[in-house]
Symmetry: C2
Subunit: 418 residues, 2 copies
């Protein structure tokens, strides 16, 4: 199980306490010799600068930004901002880098004027202001959120685009979400016997709206008020959003202002058109909410360059599943011919990013890196060819095929279809 | 066990699926009646604004900031910035609000010029630049960090100061830290037989330095490069810091540039003076690294006002221990005369914030709220009187006595000694 099978892959725990450690032999020695005083940096000889009341990243990290979709017409209200996953280490995405897709710009909502309405097939139609909602019991959960259209370029482009991981698959992020279970609010409103669906509508200029099965909302739905410990950011739906763990991002309606309980879906424009998928047999997949099991290698990944022509590297990445916990991640360096099991780093949480790593002694020759995640239900990732066989040519939602990176003998890393 | 014993405290899971739910009866009904169109907010009638490449909090949340220590001379390089814990929900502190204490200002360090040296009682003195360090295997851990002097006002002030929780106890935060286990670097350098201690020095203007037992660093020490998924912020030690989970914050030396392996402590100015504590019997407690078990109620807390004169409230807070996991948290509404067990929210992690809640039906009369955490080793919080008996009058480090909040019949919440 732990025996490396791929070219140069080392047992997953080999680094710690074994002879295979990353040593001077693999990186080359870096002996410190000069006198200490000569190595005292300038910053030790002067008083430093002032801090600020709300901290920001270092000036030297200004290139670590969300990536705007190159063709999305940002100025007309539709925008896609992607997380630079190739620069993330750990399972928490900083809120400033959380991906965001919005169809009609960011509404500026004064929280003291915002209301949430619950109406339709309820016994007591209710409205809530923020002060009232803040008094309800809240739960906190660490969950990923992924856009239905994440990785569209890999689904649609006939040849693999040579882009960064963030460009290719950065419409997924992971945060700690805190808010009020929707079951509390629905129970207070009282559900009529015919209640089956809920239409959730945002207070944005496009009235983004989705129909969701009531039973799922009662089990898992949250009215999210906080992200990573602080109130939601504007691009995440300030002052409140619906949050459905593991489901495609657009159903977690941002700037939520209305929950209408119904006996059937509303077939809103957002769900009968945009978020419906056509299968290769011509049938339509509608209300396919769950995001499937998926993984990406973040280091090394597209457009990165290996700093040395061979030697030790840690292969690192993130895996997630909309169905539950990640059970295992396998890594290949030979394009899927052989696989070795990666180490999962805890905490391994339900419907959250799980970090995986595997040590790799690169021989400097061409290699094709791939990762394949399996979740606790036994669901695993398809090849790109298998995924394409299932869906019509123009379909691109819920793409979860294995991502492959070609490492050239010149150290360049690029996206390939394998 | 689950039976409420305090005045108005409800069983910890009572809200969900029981007759004790927060209903219209406790909050009063809020029936929605007006026609839908009349309730359409302005934000739905217009195109929203543009997003930005690095997201920021909502303009309406500009008051949620770190709190500067009122008497610390910020301009002279010494500064304390505290986390507004009373506004945090969840276990992750946003990096922009993570507390920071620095003695000599924030050094501005160009990462490509920064070096980490390992020297002293090693076989091969080594130096590492950032590019090299980034190739080592990394681990990720969610841990709190607390300043040794957190809650100093409660320790020292003869009368309880009427301040917010952030003012009183905001020198503690919790993040996901990612970096290289120090054991990898020490093993590569090769330890001499006489190696027992390590002096860690920062590249700041004051050369902040602390001596740490080598065995602890080998077991738990991390060279932290990332916080909450992105590179460290300047006030957290950019480009790298030492991180020792559960230990007083100042030993997690920021802007780390040197680890000198020695056979005894260096008795640096920072440890022989500032971070040494005097007991009430005149003895000195030195190298007492672990932060003890502690908890605070964040909602309701100091300077908050109950929005209604009685009714349902969720008591919520955070607990942590430098020795391990939180095992239980009890809550009292009568100043410690009776206690009920709070619900712990997962994930309950080793040396991390753990969120706790307990439903409370407030009768509108004066109440004194307290929380008491117990960790998996059975360690629990002392009363303030017990804590004061142990230490000399001028001592204030490692204060972990139970925090009490007086809720007045006018709904005002204030800090009290109970």
């Amino acid at each position: 199980m732990n025996v490396p099978t791929g070219r140069g892959l080392l047992p997953r725990r080999s680094f710690l306490g074994s002879g295979l450690a990353l040593s001077a032999a693999s990186l080359g020695p870096a002996v410190y010799a000069a006198p200490l005083a000569a190595r005292m940096p300038d910053s030790m000889k002067t008083l430093g600068g002032a801090d600020q009341a709300y901290g920001q990243p270092a000036a030297h990290e200004q290139a670590v930004l969300r990536v705007a979709h190159p063709t999305a017409p940002q100025t007309a209200g539709f925008a896609i901002w992607r997380t630079p996953l190739q620069q993330q280490r750990g399972i928490i995405t900083p809120s400033g880098l959380h991906f965001s897709v919005h169809h009609n710009g960011l509404p500026d909502i004064a929280p003291q004027r915002h209301e949430l309405m619950i109406h339709g097939l309820v016994k007591r139609p209710l409205r809530f202001d923020l002060e009232r909602l803040m008094r309800y019991p809240m739960v906190s959960r660490i969950h990923f959120l992924e856009c239905a259209g994440n990785s569209a370029a890999n689904a649609l482009s006939p040849t693999a685009r040579n882009e960064t991981l963030g460009d290719l698959a950065g419409e997924v992020s992971c945060s700690e979400w805190t808010g009020v279970p929707l079951s509390y609010l629905f129970n207070e409103a009282g559900l009529q016997n015919s209640a089956k669906w809920v239409v959730a509508e945002g207070a944005d200029g496009g009235s983004h709206a989705r129909s969701l099965p009531l039973s799922a909302l009662l089990k898992d739905g949250m009215l999210a008020l906080y992200q990573n410990g602080e109130r939601l950011r504007p691009s995440q739906g300030y002052p409140m959003r619906l949050f459905m763990p593991g489901w495609e991002g657009n159903v977690s309606v941002k700037w939520l202002h209305r929950l209408e309980v119904t006996d059937q879906p509303a077939y809103t424009k957002d769900e009968s058109g945009l978020y419906t998928q056509i299968l290769s047999n011509g049938q339509i997949e509608r209300f396919a909410f769950h995001m499937d099991v998926k993984s990406v290698i973040t280091h090394p990944s597209g457009l990165q360059t290996m700093p040395e022509p061979k030697g030790f590297y840690e292969i690192a990445g993130l895996a997630w599943s909309g169905h539950g916990r990640i059970a295992k991640v396998e890594v290949s360096t030979d394009g899927g011919a052989s696989w070795a099991q990666a180490q999962l780093h805890g905490p391994v949480l339900d419907r959250a990013f799980t970090r995986f790593t595997l040590p790799w002694q690169w021989d400097g020759k061409k290699a094709t890196l791939m990762s394949r995640a399996t979740d606790e239900l036994g669901r695993s990732q398809p090849t790109r060819a298998d995924w394409k066989r299932r869906y019509a040519m123009q379909s691109f939602h819920h793409y979860n095929a294995m991502q492959a990176w070609r490492v050239g003998s010149d150290g360049r890393v690029e996206n390939v279809y394998a």
